[in-house]
Symmetry: C2
Subunit: 191 residues, 2 copies
Amino acid sequence: MCNLNTEDKILNASLVLFSQKGFNAVTTKEIAKEAGVSEMTLFRHFENKHNLFEKAFDKFVFSPKFLALFESLEWDLERDLTKICSSYQDTLYKNQKIILMHFKNEELNPQFDATLSKFPNELRNLLSDYFAEMGNRGIIQENPKVLANNFLATNFGLFITFLVMNNLTFETDIVACISSYVKIFVKGITC
Amino acid sequence: MCNLNTEDKILNASLVLFSQKGFNAVTTKEIAKEAGVSEMTLFRHFENKHNLFEKAFDKFVFSPKFLALFESLEWDLERDLTKICSSYQDTLYKNQKIILMHFKNEELNPQFDATLSKFPNELRNLLSDYFAEMGNRGIIQENPKVLANNFLATNFGLFITFLVMNNLTFETDIVACISSYVKIFVKGITC
DNA sequence: ACCCAATGTTAGTAACAGCTAACATTATAG
DNA sequence: CTATAATGTTAGCTGTTACTAACATTGGGT
Protein backbone atom coordinates (compact mmCIF):
# COMPACT_ATOMS: atom_id res chain seq x y z
CA MET A 1 0.00 0.00 0.00
CA CYS A 2 3.02 2.24 0.46
CA ASN A 3 4.70 2.00 -2.91
CA LEU A 4 1.71 3.46 -4.71
CA ASN A 5 2.11 6.94 -6.02
CA THR A 6 0.74 9.80 -3.99
CA GLU A 7 -2.43 10.45 -5.96
CA ASP A 8 -3.45 6.83 -5.80
CA LYS A 9 -2.86 6.66 -2.08
CA ILE A 10 -5.11 9.66 -1.61
CA LEU A 11 -7.77 8.35 -3.96
CA ASN A 12 -7.82 5.01 -2.22
CA ALA A 13 -8.17 6.61 1.16
CA SER A 14 -10.94 8.85 -0.14
CA LEU A 15 -12.90 5.94 -1.48
CA VAL A 16 -12.64 4.05 1.78
CA LEU A 17 -13.64 6.97 3.96
CA PHE A 18 -16.34 8.45 1.72
CA SER A 19 -17.98 5.05 1.44
CA GLN A 20 -17.80 4.56 5.19
CA LYS A 21 -19.07 7.92 6.35
CA GLY A 22 -20.28 10.02 3.49
CA PHE A 23 -18.86 13.18 2.03
CA ASN A 24 -19.64 15.68 4.74
CA ALA A 25 -18.64 13.49 7.64
CA VAL A 26 -15.11 12.94 6.37
CA THR A 27 -12.45 15.60 6.84
CA THR A 28 -9.52 16.28 4.59
CA LYS A 29 -7.21 15.75 7.54
CA GLU A 30 -8.67 12.30 8.00
CA ILE A 31 -8.15 11.42 4.37
CA ALA A 32 -4.59 12.68 4.45
CA LYS A 33 -3.84 10.65 7.55
CA GLU A 34 -5.42 7.51 6.10
CA ALA A 35 -3.36 8.02 2.97
CA GLY A 36 -0.21 8.53 5.01
CA VAL A 37 0.30 11.91 3.44
CA SER A 38 0.28 15.52 4.49
CA GLU A 39 -2.97 17.41 4.14
CA MET A 40 -1.18 20.01 2.05
CA THR A 41 -0.23 17.36 -0.48
CA LEU A 42 -3.85 16.42 -0.85
CA PHE A 43 -4.79 19.98 -1.78
CA ARG A 44 -1.83 20.31 -4.09
CA HIS A 45 -3.03 17.32 -6.05
CA PHE A 46 -6.78 17.78 -6.00
CA GLU A 47 -7.40 21.48 -5.40
CA ASN A 48 -10.42 20.95 -3.15
CA LYS A 49 -12.43 18.30 -1.40
CA HIS A 50 -15.25 18.16 -3.89
CA ASN A 51 -12.91 17.67 -6.78
CA LEU A 52 -11.24 14.86 -4.89
CA PHE A 53 -14.62 13.20 -4.48
CA GLU A 54 -15.29 13.35 -8.19
CA LYS A 55 -11.86 12.03 -9.10
CA ALA A 56 -12.29 9.13 -6.71
CA PHE A 57 -15.63 8.35 -8.29
CA ASP A 58 -14.25 8.51 -11.82
CA LYS A 59 -11.32 6.33 -10.97
CA PHE A 60 -13.15 3.56 -9.18
CA VAL A 61 -16.38 3.16 -11.05
CA PHE A 62 -16.26 -0.17 -12.80
CA SER A 63 -18.22 -0.60 -16.03
CA PRO A 64 -18.78 -4.23 -16.96
CA LYS A 65 -19.18 -5.63 -20.46
CA PHE A 66 -22.57 -7.28 -20.41
CA LEU A 67 -22.93 -7.44 -24.16
CA ALA A 68 -20.19 -10.02 -24.48
CA LEU A 69 -21.77 -11.96 -21.65
CA PHE A 70 -25.12 -12.15 -23.39
CA GLU A 71 -23.53 -13.29 -26.62
CA SER A 72 -22.00 -16.23 -24.80
CA LEU A 73 -25.30 -17.61 -23.49
CA GLU A 74 -26.52 -21.09 -24.35
CA TRP A 75 -30.31 -20.74 -24.05
CA ASP A 76 -30.34 -23.08 -21.08
CA LEU A 77 -32.25 -21.22 -18.40
CA GLU A 78 -30.43 -22.36 -15.30
CA ARG A 79 -26.96 -22.21 -16.79
CA ASP A 80 -27.54 -18.82 -18.34
CA LEU A 81 -29.11 -17.25 -15.28
CA THR A 82 -26.35 -18.60 -13.08
CA LYS A 83 -23.83 -17.00 -15.38
CA ILE A 84 -25.69 -13.69 -15.41
CA CYS A 85 -26.08 -13.79 -11.66
CA SER A 86 -22.44 -14.27 -10.95
CA SER A 87 -21.47 -11.64 -13.46
CA TYR A 88 -23.86 -9.13 -11.94
CA GLN A 89 -22.81 -9.99 -8.41
CA ASP A 90 -19.22 -9.56 -9.49
CA THR A 91 -20.01 -6.13 -10.87
CA LEU A 92 -21.81 -5.15 -7.71
CA TYR A 93 -18.94 -6.45 -5.62
CA LYS A 94 -16.37 -4.50 -7.56
CA ASN A 95 -18.47 -1.37 -7.22
CA GLN A 96 -19.44 -1.89 -3.61
CA LYS A 97 -17.54 1.08 -2.28
CA ILE A 98 -18.94 3.28 -5.00
CA ILE A 99 -22.43 2.02 -4.26
CA LEU A 100 -21.97 2.74 -0.59
CA MET A 101 -20.78 6.20 -1.51
CA HIS A 102 -23.98 6.65 -3.43
CA PHE A 103 -26.03 5.53 -0.47
CA LYS A 104 -24.35 7.88 1.93
CA ASN A 105 -24.37 11.01 -0.19
CA GLU A 106 -27.25 12.97 -1.54
CA GLU A 107 -27.00 14.38 -5.02
CA LEU A 108 -23.42 15.51 -4.80
CA ASN A 109 -22.60 14.67 -8.32
CA PRO A 110 -25.26 14.87 -11.02
CA GLN A 111 -23.42 12.53 -13.35
CA PHE A 112 -22.98 10.20 -10.40
CA ASP A 113 -26.50 8.88 -10.68
CA ALA A 114 -26.35 8.77 -14.43
CA THR A 115 -23.20 6.67 -14.42
CA LEU A 116 -24.47 4.32 -11.76
CA SER A 117 -27.76 3.78 -13.52
CA LYS A 118 -26.11 2.98 -16.83
CA PHE A 119 -25.17 -0.61 -16.24
CA PRO A 120 -28.31 -1.76 -14.41
CA ASN A 121 -30.39 -0.30 -17.20
CA GLU A 122 -28.27 -1.94 -19.85
CA LEU A 123 -28.48 -5.25 -18.04
CA ARG A 124 -32.22 -4.88 -17.55
CA ASN A 125 -32.80 -4.41 -21.26
CA LEU A 126 -30.58 -7.30 -22.22
CA LEU A 127 -32.29 -9.51 -19.67
CA SER A 128 -35.71 -8.44 -20.80
CA ASP A 129 -34.83 -9.33 -24.39
CA TYR A 130 -33.45 -12.65 -23.23
CA PHE A 131 -36.67 -13.50 -21.40
CA ALA A 132 -38.75 -12.37 -24.35
CA GLU A 133 -36.84 -14.71 -26.64
CA MET A 134 -37.24 -17.51 -24.13
CA GLY A 135 -40.95 -16.77 -24.23
CA ASN A 136 -40.95 -17.03 -28.03
CA ARG A 137 -39.27 -20.40 -27.74
CA GLY A 138 -42.09 -21.52 -25.47
CA ILE A 139 -39.86 -22.09 -22.46
CA ILE A 140 -41.45 -19.47 -20.20
CA GLN A 141 -44.57 -17.37 -20.31
CA GLU A 142 -44.35 -14.57 -17.77
CA ASN A 143 -43.96 -10.91 -18.69
CA PRO A 144 -40.29 -10.46 -19.65
CA LYS A 145 -40.00 -6.95 -18.24
CA VAL A 146 -41.39 -7.90 -14.87
CA LEU A 147 -39.13 -10.92 -14.79
CA ALA A 148 -36.11 -8.82 -15.57
CA ASN A 149 -36.94 -6.31 -12.87
CA ASN A 150 -37.57 -9.07 -10.43
CA PHE A 151 -34.37 -10.85 -11.19
CA LEU A 152 -32.29 -7.70 -10.90
CA ALA A 153 -33.97 -6.47 -7.76
CA THR A 154 -33.51 -9.79 -6.06
CA ASN A 155 -29.86 -9.89 -6.97
CA PHE A 156 -29.33 -6.38 -5.78
CA GLY A 157 -31.28 -7.18 -2.65
CA LEU A 158 -29.21 -10.21 -1.83
CA PHE A 159 -26.08 -8.24 -2.48
CA ILE A 160 -27.01 -5.25 -0.38
CA THR A 161 -28.36 -7.42 2.38
CA PHE A 162 -25.13 -9.28 2.74
CA LEU A 163 -23.07 -6.16 2.29
CA VAL A 164 -24.67 -3.82 4.72
CA MET A 165 -26.79 -5.91 7.01
CA ASN A 166 -24.36 -8.73 7.58
CA ASN A 167 -23.89 -7.91 11.22
CA LEU A 168 -27.56 -7.72 11.86
CA THR A 169 -29.33 -10.39 9.96
CA PHE A 170 -28.55 -13.61 8.20
CA GLU A 171 -25.84 -16.16 8.70
CA THR A 172 -26.11 -18.20 5.51
CA ASP A 173 -23.59 -17.25 2.86
CA ILE A 174 -24.49 -15.43 -0.27
CA VAL A 175 -23.32 -18.07 -2.74
CA ALA A 176 -25.70 -20.67 -1.29
CA CYS A 177 -28.49 -18.12 -1.29
CA ILE A 178 -27.95 -17.18 -4.89
CA SER A 179 -27.66 -20.67 -6.25
CA SER A 180 -30.79 -21.62 -4.36
CA TYR A 181 -32.52 -18.54 -5.71
CA VAL A 182 -31.62 -19.32 -9.31
CA LYS A 183 -32.88 -22.89 -8.99
CA ILE A 184 -36.18 -21.78 -7.51
CA PHE A 185 -36.55 -18.99 -10.03
CA VAL A 186 -35.90 -21.32 -12.96
CA LYS A 187 -38.36 -23.90 -11.74
CA GLY A 188 -40.85 -21.15 -10.97
CA ILE A 189 -40.90 -19.63 -14.42
CA THR A 190 -40.60 -22.73 -16.57
CA CYS A 191 -43.80 -23.80 -18.29
CA MET B 1 -48.14 20.05 10.45
CA CYS B 2 -48.26 23.21 12.51
CA ASN B 3 -50.57 22.21 15.31
CA LEU B 4 -48.20 19.53 16.53
CA ASN B 5 -46.44 20.26 19.77
CA THR B 6 -42.92 21.58 19.64
CA GLU B 7 -41.07 18.39 20.48
CA ASP B 8 -42.88 16.45 17.79
CA LYS B 9 -42.20 19.10 15.19
CA ILE B 10 -38.51 18.90 16.00
CA LEU B 11 -38.46 15.11 16.06
CA ASN B 12 -40.21 14.93 12.71
CA ALA B 13 -37.78 17.36 11.15
CA SER B 14 -34.86 15.42 12.60
CA LEU B 15 -36.06 12.17 11.16
CA VAL B 16 -36.50 13.67 7.73
CA LEU B 17 -33.12 15.36 7.65
CA PHE B 18 -31.08 12.63 9.33
CA SER B 19 -32.49 10.08 6.94
CA GLN B 20 -31.75 12.32 3.98
CA LYS B 21 -28.22 13.38 4.81
CA GLY B 22 -26.89 11.52 7.80
CA PHE B 23 -26.07 12.78 11.25
CA ASN B 24 -22.95 14.81 10.59
CA ALA B 25 -24.19 16.48 7.45
CA VAL B 26 -27.25 17.98 9.14
CA THR B 27 -26.96 21.10 11.25
CA THR B 28 -29.07 22.01 14.24
CA LYS B 29 -29.95 25.27 12.51
CA GLU B 30 -31.29 23.27 9.59
CA ILE B 31 -33.40 21.07 11.82
CA ALA B 32 -34.80 24.08 13.65
CA LYS B 33 -35.70 25.76 10.39
CA GLU B 34 -37.34 22.62 9.00
CA ALA B 35 -39.30 22.32 12.24
CA GLY B 36 -40.34 25.96 12.06
CA VAL B 37 -38.81 26.60 15.44
CA SER B 38 -35.93 28.55 16.91
CA GLU B 39 -32.62 26.74 17.31
CA MET B 40 -32.63 27.65 20.98
CA THR B 41 -35.89 25.82 21.47
CA LEU B 42 -34.35 22.71 20.01
CA PHE B 43 -31.55 22.76 22.58
CA ARG B 44 -33.96 23.54 25.39
CA HIS B 45 -35.93 20.41 24.59
CA PHE B 46 -33.17 17.98 23.66
CA GLU B 47 -30.01 19.25 25.32
CA ASN B 48 -27.71 18.33 22.43
CA LYS B 49 -27.71 17.04 18.89
CA HIS B 50 -26.79 13.49 19.72
CA ASN B 51 -29.57 13.17 22.24
CA LEU B 52 -31.99 14.46 19.65
CA PHE B 53 -30.85 11.75 17.28
CA GLU B 54 -31.51 9.04 19.84
CA LYS B 55 -34.91 10.40 20.77
CA ALA B 56 -35.90 10.52 17.11
CA PHE B 57 -34.81 6.92 16.72
CA ASP B 58 -36.70 5.79 19.81
CA LYS B 59 -39.82 7.58 18.76
CA PHE B 60 -40.01 6.40 15.18
CA VAL B 61 -38.84 2.84 15.26
CA PHE B 62 -41.81 0.65 14.51
CA SER B 63 -41.92 -2.87 15.92
CA PRO B 64 -44.39 -5.14 14.21
CA LYS B 65 -46.26 -8.06 15.70
CA PHE B 66 -45.23 -10.99 13.56
CA LEU B 67 -46.32 -13.59 16.05
CA ALA B 68 -49.98 -12.77 15.57
CA LEU B 69 -49.43 -12.83 11.83
CA PHE B 70 -48.02 -16.35 11.90
CA GLU B 71 -50.85 -17.61 14.02
CA SER B 72 -53.30 -16.45 11.39
CA LEU B 73 -51.77 -18.45 8.53
CA GLU B 74 -53.72 -21.08 6.63
CA TRP B 75 -50.96 -23.43 5.39
CA ASP B 76 -51.65 -22.44 1.84
CA LEU B 77 -48.25 -21.46 0.43
CA GLU B 78 -49.22 -18.69 -1.92
CA ARG B 79 -51.79 -17.11 0.34
CA ASP B 80 -49.53 -17.29 3.37
CA LEU B 81 -46.46 -15.95 1.64
CA THR B 82 -48.44 -13.14 0.11
CA LYS B 83 -49.65 -12.20 3.55
CA ILE B 84 -46.15 -12.37 5.01
CA CYS B 85 -44.77 -10.36 2.15
CA SER B 86 -47.21 -7.55 2.50
CA SER B 87 -46.77 -7.48 6.24
CA TYR B 88 -42.99 -7.34 5.92
CA GLN B 89 -43.14 -4.73 3.19
CA ASP B 90 -45.46 -2.72 5.37
CA THR B 91 -42.99 -2.90 8.25
CA LEU B 92 -40.14 -1.88 6.00
CA TYR B 93 -42.20 0.96 4.62
CA LYS B 94 -43.09 2.26 8.04
CA ASN B 95 -39.44 2.10 9.05
CA GLN B 96 -38.06 3.47 5.83
CA LYS B 97 -36.73 6.69 7.30
CA ILE B 98 -35.18 4.80 10.18
CA ILE B 99 -33.61 2.34 7.76
CA LEU B 100 -32.22 5.18 5.71
CA MET B 101 -30.84 6.69 8.90
CA HIS B 102 -29.12 3.41 9.54
CA PHE B 103 -27.64 3.40 6.07
CA LYS B 104 -26.29 6.89 6.35
CA ASN B 105 -24.81 6.69 9.80
CA GLU B 106 -22.03 4.52 11.07
CA GLU B 107 -22.32 3.08 14.53
CA LEU B 108 -23.72 6.16 16.18
CA ASN B 109 -25.95 4.29 18.49
CA PRO B 110 -24.96 0.84 19.71
CA GLN B 111 -28.52 -0.17 20.49
CA PHE B 112 -29.47 1.10 17.07
CA ASP B 113 -28.24 -2.03 15.31
CA ALA B 114 -29.63 -4.28 18.01
CA THR B 115 -33.10 -2.79 17.71
CA LEU B 116 -33.09 -2.87 13.95
CA SER B 117 -31.95 -6.48 13.83
CA LYS B 118 -34.63 -7.66 16.22
CA PHE B 119 -37.55 -7.89 13.88
CA PRO B 120 -35.79 -9.37 10.84
CA ASN B 121 -34.33 -12.05 13.08
CA GLU B 122 -37.68 -12.77 14.65
CA LEU B 123 -39.30 -12.96 11.24
CA ARG B 124 -36.52 -15.17 9.92
CA ASN B 125 -37.00 -17.70 12.69
CA LEU B 126 -40.76 -17.76 12.29
CA LEU B 127 -40.42 -18.15 8.55
CA SER B 128 -37.85 -20.89 8.92
CA ASP B 129 -40.18 -22.80 11.24
CA TYR B 130 -43.01 -22.29 8.80
CA PHE B 131 -40.99 -23.71 5.92
CA ALA B 132 -39.82 -26.61 8.08
CA GLU B 133 -43.42 -27.48 8.90
CA MET B 134 -44.32 -27.20 5.23
CA GLY B 135 -41.47 -29.63 4.59
CA ASN B 136 -42.90 -32.06 7.15
CA ARG B 137 -46.23 -31.89 5.40
CA GLY B 138 -44.49 -32.87 2.17
CA ILE B 139 -45.33 -29.65 0.39
CA ILE B 140 -41.78 -28.46 -0.13
CA GLN B 141 -38.36 -29.96 0.23
CA GLU B 142 -35.72 -27.25 0.19
CA ASN B 143 -33.68 -26.25 3.24
CA PRO B 144 -35.99 -24.10 5.38
CA LYS B 145 -33.26 -21.79 6.63
CA VAL B 146 -31.95 -21.03 3.17
CA LEU B 147 -35.49 -20.47 1.97
CA ALA B 148 -36.18 -18.07 4.80
CA ASN B 149 -33.01 -16.11 4.16
CA ASN B 150 -33.78 -16.02 0.49
CA PHE B 151 -37.30 -14.86 0.97
CA LEU B 152 -36.31 -12.11 3.36
CA ALA B 153 -33.36 -10.92 1.35
CA THR B 154 -35.44 -10.73 -1.79
CA ASN B 155 -38.13 -8.77 -0.03
CA PHE B 156 -35.62 -6.41 1.45
CA GLY B 157 -33.94 -6.15 -1.92
CA LEU B 158 -37.13 -5.26 -3.72
CA PHE B 159 -37.94 -2.74 -1.05
CA ILE B 160 -34.57 -1.05 -1.00
CA THR B 161 -34.37 -1.07 -4.76
CA PHE B 162 -37.60 0.77 -5.13
CA LEU B 163 -36.86 3.04 -2.21
CA VAL B 164 -33.42 4.25 -3.04
CA MET B 165 -32.83 3.45 -6.68
CA ASN B 166 -36.19 4.48 -8.02
CA ASN B 167 -34.76 7.35 -9.98
CA LEU B 168 -32.07 5.26 -11.52
CA THR B 169 -33.43 1.89 -12.37
CA PHE B 170 -36.74 0.19 -12.83
CA GLU B 171 -40.08 1.52 -13.87
CA THR B 172 -42.36 -1.36 -12.94
CA ASP B 173 -44.15 -0.89 -9.65
CA ILE B 174 -43.28 -2.79 -6.55
CA VAL B 175 -46.68 -4.43 -6.03
CA ALA B 176 -46.53 -6.12 -9.42
CA CYS B 177 -42.96 -7.19 -8.75
CA ILE B 178 -43.81 -8.70 -5.41
CA SER B 179 -46.89 -10.56 -6.49
CA SER B 180 -44.95 -11.94 -9.42
CA TYR B 181 -42.12 -12.90 -7.12
CA VAL B 182 -44.39 -14.77 -4.73
CA LYS B 183 -46.00 -16.69 -7.55
CA ILE B 184 -42.66 -17.73 -8.99
CA PHE B 185 -41.28 -18.57 -5.58
CA VAL B 186 -44.25 -20.74 -4.70
CA LYS B 187 -44.13 -22.61 -7.97
CA GLY B 188 -40.37 -22.94 -7.62
CA ILE B 189 -40.37 -24.56 -4.21
CA THR B 190 -43.43 -26.77 -4.48
CA CYS B 191 -42.71 -30.46 -4.92
C1' DA C 1 27.74 18.07 -5.97
C1' DC C 2 23.82 20.28 -7.39
C1' DC C 3 19.08 21.08 -9.01
C1' DC C 4 14.47 20.74 -8.82
C1' DA C 5 10.44 18.66 -8.06
C1' DA C 6 7.67 16.52 -4.69
C1' DT C 7 6.65 16.49 -0.12
C1' DG C 8 6.35 18.03 4.85
C1' DT C 9 5.63 21.64 8.50
C1' DT C 10 3.76 25.39 10.58
C1' DA C 11 0.89 29.13 11.05
C1' DG C 12 -2.98 31.15 9.88
C1' DT C 13 -7.70 32.66 7.83
C1' DA C 14 -12.68 32.83 7.22
C1' DA C 15 -16.66 30.36 7.76
C1' DC C 16 -19.45 27.64 10.31
C1' DA C 17 -20.54 24.14 13.66
C1' DG C 18 -22.58 23.08 18.39
C1' DC C 19 -23.90 25.24 22.21
C1' DT C 20 -24.77 28.93 26.09
C1' DA C 21 -26.35 33.18 28.30
C1' DA C 22 -29.26 36.99 28.75
C1' DC C 23 -33.07 39.25 27.72
C1' DA C 24 -37.51 40.15 24.97
C1' DT C 25 -41.81 38.40 23.41
C1' DT C 26 -45.84 35.81 23.36
C1' DA C 27 -49.50 32.95 25.09
C1' DT C 28 -52.19 30.70 28.41
C1' DA C 29 -54.42 29.82 32.66
C1' DG C 30 -56.06 31.31 37.24
C1' DC D 1 -55.02 41.46 34.77
C1' DT D 2 -51.29 39.17 36.03
C1' DA D 3 -48.09 35.40 36.87
C1' DT D 4 -45.79 31.88 34.64
C1' DA D 5 -44.26 28.98 31.27
C1' DA D 6 -42.87 28.42 26.54
C1' DT D 7 -40.79 30.48 22.84
C1' DG D 8 -37.99 33.91 20.08
C1' DT D 9 -33.82 36.99 19.45
C1' DT D 10 -29.36 38.30 19.63
C1' DA D 11 -24.81 38.02 20.65
C1' DG D 12 -21.09 35.40 21.50
C1' DC D 13 -17.90 31.50 22.95
C1' DT D 14 -15.11 27.55 21.50
C1' DG D 15 -13.74 24.20 18.49
C1' DT D 16 -13.32 22.55 13.84
C1' DT D 17 -13.31 22.71 8.96
C1' DA D 18 -11.70 23.68 4.23
C1' DC D 19 -8.19 25.85 2.43
C1' DT D 20 -3.80 29.10 1.76
C1' DA D 21 0.85 30.99 2.24
C1' DA D 22 5.49 30.62 3.30
C1' DC D 23 9.24 28.18 4.25
C1' DA D 24 11.89 23.71 5.30
C1' DT D 25 13.12 19.05 3.98
C1' DT D 26 13.87 15.26 1.19
C1' DG D 27 15.57 12.56 -2.63
C1' DG D 28 16.46 11.12 -7.37
C1' DG D 29 18.58 12.44 -11.96
C1' DT D 30 22.28 14.68 -14.22
